[in-house]
């Protein structure tokens, strides 16, 4: 099914999440941002995490790097990284080294993750130093090559300050930072949210080609089904801290099982076809404080709600060949 079904090598970094529960401490009490998430993220695939704000998709990505910050807390579960063991057992220096070796993280396009007072090149050297790289000159050379590869003027960018770069350029610089240390796993958090469509497509194109070329494990976090449809091999649909559906992109888009997935796909204004086919998704995004503790978390917004949804938690059912769906409606049929 996958586009590049190569034999796994020692470098392939798959991630196996088992029963992960993460909670946040707030004024109003302790809430689960993730609850019993079990998921395999395949090496050499682009996996898209999709969900509204509050669905836990960013929390999941942070948990994979064991980077949940207080007031968040990992309550249980394991994250097994191929060739490195359980990430959640690591602390301090070994954890930092593992993050540096495996993960490249690109922040939201809208957020200014660069230091406004330092030139990009100087920040890159800081990054290299903190990862114990002795050949900083080589690092800069590689960064420049990488930058040019993705349509930037390498010399110009490395000597620029953050404010001298446009949104699309900053996002590309973020990519350079994430990739120059030879990360095996590339995590992009809302990589295109603040960008216009043309820039979005350009960034996606770049990610896609680098992913393929370097055989990465890429994770794209987004609330935009369009982004996922454009580039992901597999899609994980999240709602209120649960994985509600998971499977290959093609199958998930053509034959969505969960009412939430169906709603998300229907809610996209399309450039062709019948205008009336698009329907808004009813209700508001989940609020951690008010999601029910028992039964299906999506039932308030679901068109197919039955009495069983109120009382019984849905269990994962196999779907899309090697994927899964969590819905009572699917169980029944």
């Amino acid at each position: 099914m996958s586009l590049y079904d190569l034999a796994p090598t020692a470098e392939d970094a798959g991630i196996h999440i088992q029963n992960l529960t993460v909670s946040y401490d707030t004024d109003r009490g302790r809430f689960n941002a993730l609850k019993n998430v079990t998921l395999d993220i395949r090496p050499r695939h682009i996996t898209g995490f999709i969900g509204e704000s509050g669905s836990g998709k960013t929390t999941l990505a942070m948990a994979m790097m064991n980077a949940i910050q207080p007031p968040g807390r990992i309550d249980g579960g394991a994250i097994l990284l191929d060739g490195a063991g359980d990430v959640l057992q690591l602390r301090g220096e070994p954890l930092r080294r593992l993050r540096g070796r495996y993960f490249g993280f690109v922040f939201q396009a809208s957020s200014n993750s660069l230091n406004p007072l330092k030139r990009v090149g100087a920040q890159l050297m800081d990054l290299g130093r903190s990862h114990g790289i002795s050949d900083l000159r080589g690092l800069l050379r590689e960064a420049k090559a990488l930058a040019e590869r993705i349509g930037l003027d390498g010399d110009r960018v490395l000597t620029s300050y953050q404010h001298e770069l446009s949104g699309g350029m900053r996002q590309r610089v973020g990519l350079v930072f994430a990739l120059v240390l030879k990360a095996r796993i590339l995590i992009l958090d809302e990589p295109t949210t603040a960008l216009d469509m043309l820039t979005q497509q350009a960034v996606l194109e770049i990610v896609r080609s680098i992913h393929q070329e370097q055989g990465l494990t890429t994770i794209v976090i987004t609330h935009d089904m369009g982004v996922v449809a454009e580039m992901a091999d597999r899609v994980v649909v999240m709602y209120a801290g649960r994985v509600v559906e998971e499977g290959p992109t093609f199958s998930l888009l053509t034959n969505p099982q969960h009412p939430y997935t169906q709603g998300l796909i229907r809610a996209i204004p399309r450039i062709t076809g019948n205008l009336d086919d698009a329907k808004p998704l009813p209700g508001s995004p989940p609020d951690l404080a008010t999601i029910p503790t028992k039964g299906c978390v999506f039932r308030e917004r679901c068109y197919a709600r039955t009495s069983v949804c109120d009382t019984v938690d849905p269990v994962p059912t196999s779907a899309h060949g090697d994927g899964l769906v969590m819905c009572h409606g699917v169980d029944a049929s």
Binding site: T26, D27, R28, P280, L281, G283, S284
Partner: protein, 302 residues
């Protein structure tokens, strides 16, 4: 259409009528014991300032047999150089000190806020002129000015003292408020208000001002303690003629005529106003932490 209606409807009367400010304030303050303590201290001194002078005769009795007496049942805080009860001096002296400090703080906040707001909102020539004045105020050395003024002005009235302290002290606040206004005026809601055709005074005082409310409230409290220090300091140094009994006068007399720094006998005379000032400052600092929550709706109801 009705895509995002929230499920639970409440009664219409309850939605418009927000809980009153006092009830919100009480909830915020009672949430932490430290805030309660701070409030208690402030209320205690406020009461002392209001009621104090009525508790004692206008001319406090002197007692030549109990000069610099140590604390006792009759004189809980000891006595001064004429055998007057220190407690009586503290209680009757509180009104001048606190009232002058309050006046100073109100003047500071009033001038600082309105000049900062107007300057930051209008920019252009208005801003230039107001900021020149502010810079001028900032460069006036307040202390020497007071010394000079005291030769021509009678500081027997606390409001005069408060006015002078306030008029020399608003520069910093005006600059700070202006810079906050500068950033707020670029925000979408200010622009929207302009687009809706709302007049400038509405935008400045109803849209921008509430957003710097917590900052101004904190400044008011801090200015009060600042005012106390300044005036007590003036009296202590003796640069302002004493017309009335107050804490600063006590400090001055304890040190310069009682020799409290050399001999222990005048120590109670020195310590009682000092401890009062420290206690009041403590109360303000403890209470300060409630201000942000009281005026900031985001913190108020999570």
């Amino acid at each position: 259409m009705i895509a995002e209606q929230l499920p639970q409807p409440t009664t219409s009367a309850a939605t418009l009528r927000r809980p009153s400010f006092l009830s919100i304030a009480w909830r915020v303050i009672s949430a932490r014991p430290s805030r309660m303590l701070g409030l208690a201290i402030i209320v205690f001194f406020a009461l002392m300032a209001i009621v104090g002078p009525f508790l004692y005769p206008h001319n406090l009795p002197i007692n030549p047999n109990a000069i610099y007496a140590p604390p006792s049942l009759r004189y809980p805080l000891g006595t001064d150089f004429e055998g007057t009860s220190n407690l009586a001096l503290i209680v009757t002296g509180a009104r001048y000190v606190l009232f002058a400090a309050l006046m100073a703080a109100l003047f500071t906040v009033f001038f600082g806020t309105s000049i900062g707001l107007v300057s930051g909102y209008f920019l252009g020539p208005t801003d230039t002129i107001l900021m020149r004045i502010t810079d001028f105020i900032l460069t006036i050395p307040g202390f020497p000015l007071l010394v000079v003024l005291s030769t021509v002005w009678n500081f027997g009235q606390p409001i005069a003292m408060g006015f002078v302290l306030g008029i020399t002290g608003w520069g910093g606040l005006a600059r700070a408020v202006r810079s906050q206004t500068l950033s707020l005026r670029e925000r979408g809601f200010v622009e929207a208000a302009r687009g809706l055709g709302l007049p400038w005074w509405h935008i400045v005082f109803q849209e921008i001002l509430p957003n710097i409310g917590p900052y101004i409230a904190m400044n008011l409290l801090v200015s009060i303690t600042g005012g106390i220090y300044a005036e007590v300091g003036l009296f202590y140094l003796g640069v302002v003629p004493f017309h009335v009994n107050n804490w600063g006068v006590m400090l001055n007399l304890a040190v310069f005529t009682g020799g409290a720094l050399q001999s222990p006998q005048a120590l109670p005379y020195l310590l009682s106003p000092l401890v009062c000032i420290l206690l009041l400052t403590l109360g303000v600092v403890l209470f300060l932490d409630a201000m942000d929550e009281m005026f900031n709706p985001r913190l108020r109801e999570g």
